[in-house]
Symmetry: C2
Subunit: 204 residues, 2 copies
DNA sequence: GACGTTTTGGAATACTCATTCCGAAATAAA
DNA sequence: TTTATTTCGGAATGAGTATTCCAAAACGTC
């Protein structure tokens, strides 16, 4: 009972030694690298820098921590994409920059983690409804962001109108997913550049 | 010692109760559905229809069985693609049919297993050199099959020559990988049709 | 500084995992 | 049928798993 009755004054106790957000960032990296089934609670204890009890106390259990990590990653990724699209001079430039940045990040990662969202989709989407929901939200948001950018691009004449904007948005999303898979085993930039170049040609 | 010395006559013993190939087919399905880390030896004992000791006796251990399953799957998939390309009337028709067949298989699978090769690439390629080798061989063979078909298509004037054949082959491979990821959480045909349609438009 | 509460580290628990082992059953040739 | 050998089923092993528990340390308020 943290409150005293009568004169209601709070009795505080020991404060948390760690920053929950920072721990979550570390958890993301671990799950991202080794997957859900590939990560043990011991791995997390070793990597998060907090004790087992603090972990369970703060994040309930492994599954809850995983989903929370995934949601956090999804939110950050979505914001990044939206900001990039907003700040770019036009729709085509936005998509070009996004593809290039994605490949840069993928290639630059020595651990070859790929994309946390894609990794989760492959490992768990068909067996874990909770994870599936996060994935579907992410797919939806991504598609919608591309869709709106492409519609604008088509209105301004920057992007061809032979294909409808929805199809183009899905096509771009699909290309990105493919890149994120290949980055798991391939590191040669030329390989990715070929795909980016060909993909962008569809918009002309 | 199965051989007697002197007059070299073989002494035979009990024969295996199961067909190794058939067991391997079952193993493929189980690993394909649940992944390497998600599959326990108990799952395999239950699913393969042979005893634990027969499993270890025939396939050494879990990892060996997994790699053998993956190799078998890879070989069958490669043959299927090559046959399809050979039998199709032209390069463009071959690629179109391949994309459509792939999506049909993906959507038709109630378990939403996706592609065993892609699943393995995501789960293990960056941590398991043995698996990585199988993946890379598969990627290479697939790209090469597309490359040769596309070169022919370009020579016959069926496929545009603005992009080089290597880039187009990689682009098609990448599209397929994307589809195989999305099939893990999406089942609406329209979604996949949009991507196929847009992808094929690149060849015109 | 003392009290009441929370956090913390690490031991303890209960379970599942991959792998090994062993005795009994099966089989082909002698 | 006997013999030599292998397969087979299931129990046994030992390491690794997620989770719980507890006593001691930490801290804000009194």
């Amino acid at each position: 009972m943290p409150f005293k009755t009568g004169r209601a004054f709070l009795i505080m106790a020991r404060t948390k030694d760690f920053d929950e957000e920072e721990v979550l960032r570390k958890a993301i990296c671990i799950f991202w690298n080794k997957g859900y089934n590939g990560t043990s609670m011991q791995d997390l204890v070793d990597g998060l820098g907090i004790s087992r009890s603090s972990m369970y106390d703060t994040f309930t259990d492994k599954h809850t921590l995983y989903v929370k990590s995934l949601e956090r990653y999804q939110k950050a990724a979505d914001e990044q994409v939206c900001n990039l699209i907003k700040s770019a001079p036009g729709a085509k430039a936005a998509i070009k920059r996004l593809l290039e940045l994605t490949v840069n990040d993928l290639i630059g990662d020595d651990q070859q983690k790929g994309c946390f969202m894609v990794n989760a989709e492959i490992e768990l989407a068909s067996h874990d409804d909770c994870v599936k929901d996060v994935i579907c939200r992410s797919v939806q948001q991504m598609e919608e962001a591309f869709y709106m950018a492409i519609v604008k691009g088509q209105q301004s004449g920057e992007i061809q109108t032979r294909q409808d904007a929805r199809a183009l948005a899905r096509f771009i999303s699909n290309t990105i997913k493919g890149l994120q898979v290949s980055a798991k085993s391939i590191k040669e930039r030329a390989f990715f550049d070929d795909i980016i170049k060909t993909t962008l040609s569809v918009l002309d």
